[in-house]
Symmetry: C2
């Protein structure tokens, strides 16, 4: 199934599942939709925290992607959307046409799934992929740089890496600066405020074996966490795992 076929099935309501593993080699993106009055501040906030919130495309005065998938309708071509009011998740829907108004600004944000193929191809197997689970994610005490009303702390994803492959994992993912890039921390969860590595705040628990080191990357769940923390009056995001599958290839975002 190519990306156009998948997005068509999503738009028609035939496909409503998580997108992991579909259209392999194509960039999948996080999405955040907010009213225009917050957009300039958020865009600046994202730039100031680009490791956690790497913006790939901003769509204004329209609901069609131009850059990531020319003409894709952002109102119905993601399999599920979360609606937030005053920072609280109020419902999950498969289509946001009824909420849309021209005041909306759409942010499509890089996702670490993009570098996972490169890790695997580089001889670094990923347990959550092998076990068909979600990656483990944690709230941390890593403070983001505040901009206007936007503030909060970083969410990270964790992958256990064999002890002699950790440097390789840094180098490989460092080539994808728009997809969170190299790790933000290696080895000691408690140093970034994670109290119990066995209890992720989001996603699934993934075992860390004796010859492995926990490696942490900034995570695209960070914006959701921020809008909860600051209780933003209204926002829409993709539902976790239900990403925007773009026409761009992972290799389009490989930086030498």
């Amino acid at each position: 199934m190519n990306t156009h076929e998948l997005r068509e099935k999503i738009a028609s309501g035939e496909f409503t599942k998580p997108t992991a593993g579909f259209c392999k080699g194509h960039v999948q993106a996080n999405m955040l939709v907010i009213p225009k009055k917050y957009a300039a501040s958020f865009e600046k906030f994202a730039k100031e925290n680009s490791k956690a919130i790497p913006v790939l495309e901003v769509v204004k005065k329209s609901h069609y992607s131009q850059l990531l998938a020319q003409g894709a309708n952002l109102l119905n071509e993601l399999p599920a959307y979360d609606i937030f009011e005053d920072g609280k998740h109020v419902k999950t829907v498969n289509n946001i046409e009824e909420f849309y108004n021209e005041d909306f600004v759409f942010f499509l944000i890089g996702c670490s799934f993009t570098f996972e193929n490169s890790l695997i191809n580089g001889g670094i197997p990923l347990r959550h992929v092998d076990e068909v689970k979600n990656v483990s994610m944690y709230d941390t005490n890593i403070k983001l740089n505040d901009v206007d009303m936007f503030s909060g702390s970083m969410v990270v994803s964790m992958r256990p890496i064999k002890k002699d492959k950790v440097a390789d994992a840094c180098i490989i993912t460092g080539h994808f600066p728009n997809m969170h890039g190299a790790p933000i921390h290696i080895g000691y969860p408690e140093m970034i405020g994670i109290k119990d590595i066995n209890k992720p705040d989001y996603g699934d628990f993934i075992e860390i074996k004796e010859d492995e080191i926990p490696v942490f990357w900034p995570c695209g769940v960070t914006p959701q966490n921020v809008l909860k923390q600051i209780k933003l009056p209204f926002a829409i995001t993709h539902a976790p795992g239900h990403m925007f599958v773009s026409d761009k290839k992972d290799s389009d975002y490989y930086v030498q």
Copy 2:
């Protein structure tokens, strides 16, 4: 002082100190000299263990460098040499002319000093440099790949790195594959057989602060350790810290 001037002072006996900090930006190399009958095996052994023993130049049937410093006399242009018999260090001298015979093969081997400038320029200060001390080095349980009579385990150097700079340190040093490249281990000394991080086997003790992670690179002391372990009948090495200062620039060995 340029590299020619420094080597002239060394040859004349005027300069006999460690070379760290001299001719900054120029490659300094480890040296191992062994009789021809062991050379082919050692060369293969080095290739099989190139992260620990990256050979930059082999000099045979001569005692003059061609590649690293055209015409430099390897018998007197290093400030100090260690003589080994049956794997035991028997003396340190400033000149090896009296030992020389045409049967000698000289191996000049990459050194992690070469990437230290790049780390510092990349915003990663190094405590042993700031405190004008030697780097901490440790024997490990990381087995080398055996070739003929050559076998043993890797020696590593350790640098404490601020927790949010560890990935950067991997990426920067990964660009110097001929100078040991990216770290061999990050974070847990006991996982590579180091019992007490506060007691280095070679070099100076360097403090690891609370917000730092110990990062380990393969070390050019590995060949010395090997020849001790296998009790090689005869060998000469540079004395620790008293390196061969070459005409090559660090940037000549930067690999994109």
